[in-house]
Symmetry: C2
Subunit: 329 residues, 2 copies
DNA sequence: CTGAAAGCGCTAACAA
DNA sequence: TTGTTAGCGCTTTCAG
């Protein structure tokens, strides 16, 4: 547990010189450098980040805010953020908010108390006012979800267009009775995905049936099952379902199977997110792929730029429709 | 961005007094306390953890080492660790090692460099020598997986017994031709689960068929599929499969379905871990439940004890066999 | 009950 | 090329 002083003494130089060697400055003669390196090795010295961080007024930690760690949707984004962060000497603190303001506040405190240098927020339910307030002082990026027009840079995909393409695909393979399984429209992405759904229907002259639009409280398997139950109970049952999340869609799949109907012959299903499990279901799930990993690296790079005081602009990434068994029996 | 000096000046007291108020010491008169609190509010002061951490030689961060963030197995353990940590004023840094020594080393460095106060390791493939070496100086707990006898405290379940019960269940419902889908036996849990499998067979006088023991390189869906392919190709096909992980079992399920056979009528399947998705498959999966959340809280509590310099003993928690559709048509 | 002052381990401006 | 020294923001003796 040696410190820089002891290394300096051991090497017979000053702490400044040791610090220079530590930080790879080339203003040190190779002789002294060797001496210092030997002393470091001899004493088994490891520089303390606590001292360095205080001195530099930085923590080299970035916060990732997600509503729920169990949602596989976030996995690849997180990996992207982490790898980019690591490559720039940052570490990530993964924070599950449960969309609970108290828990959010614990994590916001971390940046207020200088224990974190910035935040990548992926929580659509986060307290937007607090976030906006924080963003005035601290580096914050919104990822995947963004509360439009609150002036925080974001990275996302074009949800409206993605939704439009998914529904158009269903129409092209012959469906006209298409249900939408959506989130609460308090979320921007929910409004955008509904808009895309409507545009596709309208373009093909299909009237919007209000009964075909079902809202769920959560993007979970169980809520997908529940919603599908309602859809199956409809008088004029739709022949296709577009769910705004794979977890919902997988719940729907299960429910359809349980009712003795066949996917896709009786009802076709499209999900959204391309989580790993969407390829493990029976049948495999047609879904919209977001470039998760890239979203993560982009968000991290933007955040680090912001931390360093540089200007950053929002980014919209591409998406892709993955056609699999649930729409092509 | 006020600091403690400015608060002291504003309140007309010394920094020591401010610090006392901050830390809730009751050696401050209520008058001065009020003055200080007003100054804090007035200046919008937030104490910096960088300063405090350096002074206290602690980071209040604990590391969680997992091989792969995508494995749902770890989710509840992580939640348990996090909640316990939070309640004690610690934050968690989630570290995915990819079972890659270089990446492990990045994270080990965090504790060497005082950026983390301790480690909960859940990586069975972690470099045991390094871990052992680190454990001499730093607080380390092994969770769920442990490399026996290396002197690091651990929390886990009795894998041998759990495996024994799972296999016994299969025997009780009439199976005698039972395959074991196992991990590489370099992992202790793999050896223990095999031992439980053997004990159950032996107890019932069923001879061990070497062809029925299949090893997979990874605990993943894809590897479960592959392994199941091999099992299905066997001359004398087993009527039941016990997989040491739900992900393997779900892969097996998919493969059996694809081959036109029926679960459980043709082949019964048992998994291990009770991940969320084990209840979403068709049919739902019989599996062994580990008390994940409790494992997490226990590990965190043990680690914090260790950080504070207290003695800690290893813990073995209970498990439970969850019988569902994949073994009871 | 309160204040002065030392120091946690490090970096960087300035001087030599 | 190297050393001296002043902090970064906080906690905690020790004195009063």
């Amino acid at each position: 547990m040696a410190n820089i002083q002891q290394v300096a003494k051991q090497a017979g130089v000053s702490v400044a010189t040791v610090s220079r060697v530590l930080n790879g400055q080339n203003t040190v003669s190779s002789k002294t450098k060797t001496k210092v390196e030997e002393a470091i090795k001899f004493l088994n010295y490891e520089p303390s980040m606590l001292g360095r961080n205080l001195r530099n007024s930085e923590s080299r930690i970035i916060l990732i805010l997600i509503p729920n760690i169990s949602n596989p949707f976030y996995l690849d984004i997180i990996k992207g953020i982490e790898n980019m962060a690591l490559s720039q000497g940052y570490n990530i603190l993964l924070c599950e908010t449960d969309s609970n303001p108290d828990k959010e506040n614990i994590y916001f405190d971390l940046v207020r108390k200088k224990m974190a240098d910035g935040i990548v927020s992926m929580d659509p339910a986060v307290n937007v006012d607090t976030l906006k307030e924080l963003a005035r002082t601290y580096a914050i990026i919104q990822c995947s979800e963004y509360g439009g027009g609150i002036g925080i840079p974001y990275v996302t995909i074009d949800s409206e267009e993605a939704s439009y393409r998914a529904v158009k695909h269903l129409i092209q393979i012959g469906h006209t009775k298409i249900a939408l399984m959506n989130s609460d429209e308090k979320f921007l992405y929910a409004r955008e995905r509904k808009a895309g759904y409507q545009r596709a229907l309208k373009e093909q002259g299909i009237a919007l049936d209000k009964d075909y639009v079902i809202y769920t409280q959560e993007l979970s398997f169980a809520h997908g099952q529940q919603a599908m139950k309602k859809i199956l109970a409809l008088q004029d049952r739709p022949t296709a379902v577009f769910a705004v999340s794979d977890l919902l869609a997988i719940g729907a799949l299960k429910e359809i199977n349980a009712s003795g109907l066949h996917v896709p012959n009786d009802i076709a299903v499209v999900g959204f997110d391309k989580i790993d499990f969407s390829n493990m279901t029976n049948p495999t799930l047609t879904t919209v792929a977001q470039p998760m990993y890239k979203m993560g690296t982009t968000a991290a790079a933007m955040l680090i730029d912001k931390i360093k005081g540089r200007e950053v602009d929002s980014v919209i990434l591409d998406h892709e429709l993955i056609i699999r068994e649930s729409t092509s029996g």
